[in-house]
């Protein structure tokens, strides 16, 4: 029976890709395919940005942070020479160092711990069927839509211009990025060494490793993996970096999440009678064009849809998935957090993917500012989460 499920999932994915190609062109079909890859890897490896940070904040477990730094280095190594030599065909995620970036990243970091998922996390967990992420998705879309509309006003508060390290040449930009990522990984490892080994941390890693569908280890072997660097983390980083590079080559821009979710919110608002005319964000190009065109023509939307399907396929690959229904208190808190997350992501020029991964891999200083502020916000978010429970 399992082979039938797998065949059904593969055929379903390919049929979806073909449908997107027919409706919106070859590029969009390829992006849907890459999106499926992103979702399959995120769910298959249980590669969570939110959980990686929480593991470190609560138990000084550095594995998630190490994997994220490895991903940054690999993505930068692939993308910086490509962007530098493309003559404008490929662009990075570069944004100014505004007051809105500082506020937005802090709020996003706090909210993502309460929503139990960042931008990519919410999508892949929704795809895998997590009830909490199902509930978060609509409020996330609403927040992203409204936040985008208010973004020009937030930027007008001021700040510093963008700092693009590629201006110093890609070898220098890459060297600075590698050094900075290495420093973060070293500091995380040092903090872990100073903290006594936590049985709870090992147990958490065991549970996630045992449910990581394409790198699943027997539960008996998982504690061993938890003591070092679990395979799911570094394998997930390697695969995500490869997909990130391919996405840049196909789309011409880095992988993003929240822009597409905002487009979904704007599309639904338009269907309900809202008009983008005169809106400082949605009423001007290129965003107005995105609303006028079909959803499948939008780069981030089509990748997001693929991601959700890829997560569904990975979660069912080894059989039916199980889930727990969260408490109503937890659901309400997560929905509010989703709204905040969507809004703040637009203040901060993106989420963990568009700003943190995309910014750092593009050698833009705003990626590092986003990381510092969102991590500080996550420390607060973890505390609030502990009070709420779950």
């Amino acid at each position: 029976m399992r082979w039938f499920t797998r065949l059904f999932l593969v055929v379903g994915g390919l049929a979806g890709v073909l449908a997107v190609m027919l409706a919106a062109g070859v590029r969009q079909g390829l992006l849907a395919l890459l999106g499926i890859g992103f979702g399959a890897v995120l769910q298959g490896a249980r590669f969570g940005f939110t959980t990686g940070w929480r593991d470190f904040i609560e138990r000084r477990d550095p594995q998630g942070l190490w994997a994220q730094m490895l991903l940054m280095v690999l993505a930068a190594a692939v993308s910086l020479p490509l962007i530098a030599g493309s003559g404008g065909e490929l662009v990075g995620a570069v944004a100014p160092l505004t007051i809105s970036l500082v506020l937005g990243a802090f709020l996003f970091g706090a909210a993502m711990q309460l929503a139990d998922g960042c931008g990519s996390g919410t999508l892949y967990k929704a795809g895998a069927g997590a009830p909490l992420s199902f509930a978060v998705l609509p409020t996330f879309a609403l927040g992203s839509f409204v936040g985008a509309s208010h973004q020009p006003g937030w930027i007008a508060l001021g700040g510093l211009p963008a700092v693009d390290l590629l201006a110093f040449g890609w070898p220098v930009a890459l060297a600075i990025t590698v050094l900075a990522c290495g420093l973060v990984a070293w500091l995380a490892g040092r903090a872990a060494q100073r903290t006594p080994a936590s049985p709870q941390a090992a147990a958490m890693q065991s549970v996630r490793t045992a449910t990581a569908s394409f790198v699943a280890a027997p539960v008996a072997a998982a504690p061993r993996a938890a003591a070092g660097w679990s395979r799911r983390w570094w394998l997930g980083a390697l695969l995500l970096a490869a997909l990130y590079g391919l996405h840049l080559i196909v789309a011409g821009q880095p992988w993003g999440i929240v822009y597409g979710i905002g487009v979904w919110g704007a599309k639904i608002a338009t269907a309900l009678g809202w008009s983008a005319v005169g809106d400082p964000f949605w009423g001007v190009d290129p965003h107005a064009v995105r609303l006028a065109e079909p959803l499948l023509a939008d780069v981030t939307s089509v990748t997001n849809l693929g991601l959700i399907y890829g997560a569904l396929a990975a979660s069912r690959w080894n059989g039916p998935a199980d889930f727990k229904v969260p408490s109503s208190r937890r659901l309400i808190a997560a929905c509010i957090a989703g709204l905040v997350m969507g809004y703040s992501s637009r203040m901060a020029f993106g989420c963990n993917v568009g700003a943190y991964l995309g910014g750092i891999a593009s050698a833009s200083l705003h990626g590092w500012v986003w990381f510092a502020l969102a991590f500080a916000g996550s420390m607060l978010g973890v505390r609030i989460r502990q009070r709420i429970g779950g």
Partner: protein, 55 residues
């Protein structure tokens, strides 16, 4: 209804909802759209898609 059945039902409803919205959107936003080259690298065109970073 047990958890597994509820889970399958929720997943099916979610995907039906998504497919219906995408189909309705595709049908209602027709018009002429210039299809971009399959791959941006080597296309000779500047990237034009919206991105979270504000472009």
């Amino acid at each position: 209804m047990d958890n597994k059945k509820l889970f399958r039902l929720a997943t099916a409803v979610f995907w039906l909802f998504v497919l219906a919205l995408v189909a309705m959107d595709t049908a209602s936003t027709g018009g002429v759209r210039v299809e971009p080259p399959p791959i941006a690298l080597g296309s000779g065109q500047a990237a034009s898609g919206g991105h979270c970073s504000g472009r």
